[in-house]
Amino acid sequence: MKSIKFDYLIKNFKQDIYRFSFYMVKNKADAEDITQEVLIRTWENMDRFEFSKAKQWIIRTTYNMCIDVLRRRKIIENLIFEPNEDEELEIIDYDSLNNPLIKFENEALKEKINSAIQNLSEKLRTIFIMYEINDMKYKEISEMLNIPINTIKVNLLRARKKLQAELQNYENI
């Protein structure tokens, strides 16, 4: 039974874990490492969390690991100056593959959005990804981050506005 549930979780949440960690740590290799580590922890803790709340547990673990990576990175950055090489999230949209112009425009917009999301502050980015990318509810985010729901709503709105402003900056360039 444990392996059946675990197989289901891997199949359904692997991409969510990766996407969340990628936007948080802004690095493909780190995001893959975090995904791997979260899956291992999920397997090891399968008996300790309710299966109905698996998604919250997985995202919370992913979030904690991302924060660890960001903290470690900050310490290292303080010791050695190293330029941060941002990577692009590879996106495949099969609907637009037939029309090269649409494909090009969509890809360009998605790339801009990826960069804009990564330029948000850590707080806004976390809330934005949890709500928009990981489909979490206000209540779940509030419980996970220990923030009132109204604060989440305000921050989400700020994130949306900032994202749009960033996108307009790209267009102006």
């Binding site: 197989d7 289901y8 891997i10 996407r19 291992i40 299966f51 996106i91 990826n114 928009e132 990318i133």
Partner: protein, 176 residues
């Protein structure tokens, strides 16, 4: 026309799809009459759609798990089982929809013969119709018989046999 701050926030939440019905109506009405508001709505909507497609896209992830963790692609039934335990409301909704569909199908099926029973005929009506049909067939039979006798008597005799006989007699006379 300027867009007020509150209205702008409403436009954003409507474009992102998490506004109440009342706010949606308010915003839709305002964007009809205000081009600036419409442009703002369109911008945010485009971004939201792009985010949606990012969400749908899948990465080719190569995750190496330790040997003691074995991953197999879940079967259909195990997915159903997990879905039921993870989000019981979804299978309950599906099951209710199926039950309602079956129930409706039964009701509709029962009503069909009732409807057709309104058009059933009595035995007497069937008997009368049968007699009428027989009469009609008899009439057709008579006509066919008459036609047959006309062909035999008039057409074959007068138009074919008699000229043929005449022709044969002429030939006989010539030979003789």
């Amino acid at each position: 026309m300027k867009i007020s701050k509150i209205n702008k926030d409403d436009i954003i939440s409507v474009a992102y799809g998490d506004a109440s019905i009342f706010t949606k109506l308010k915003v839709y009405l305002s964007i009809i009459f205000n081009n600036k508001a419409y442009m703002l709505f369109k911008e945010y909507k485009t971004t939201k759609n792009a985010i949606k497609s990012i969400k749908k896209s899948e990465q080719n992830l190569v995750i190496k798990l330790p040997g003691y963790i074995k991953y197999n692609k879940p079967s259909f039934w195990s997915e159903i089982y997990c879905l039921f335990t993870l989000k019981p409301i979804i299978p309950v909704i599906y099951a209710s929809v199926i039950i309602i569909a079956i129930f409706l199908a039964i009701i509709v099926r029962e009503q069909v013969p009732k409807e057709s029973s309104k058009h059933l005929y009595t035995k007497e009506q069937i008997k009368v119709a049968d007699e009428k049909a027989k009469y009609a067939l008899a009439l057709i039979g008579n006509i066919l018989q008459e036609t047959n006798s006309t062909i035999k008597a008039d057409i074959i005799k007068k138009k074919v046999a008699e000229p043929l006989n005449e022709g044969l007699n002429i030939i006989n006379n010539i030979i003789n």
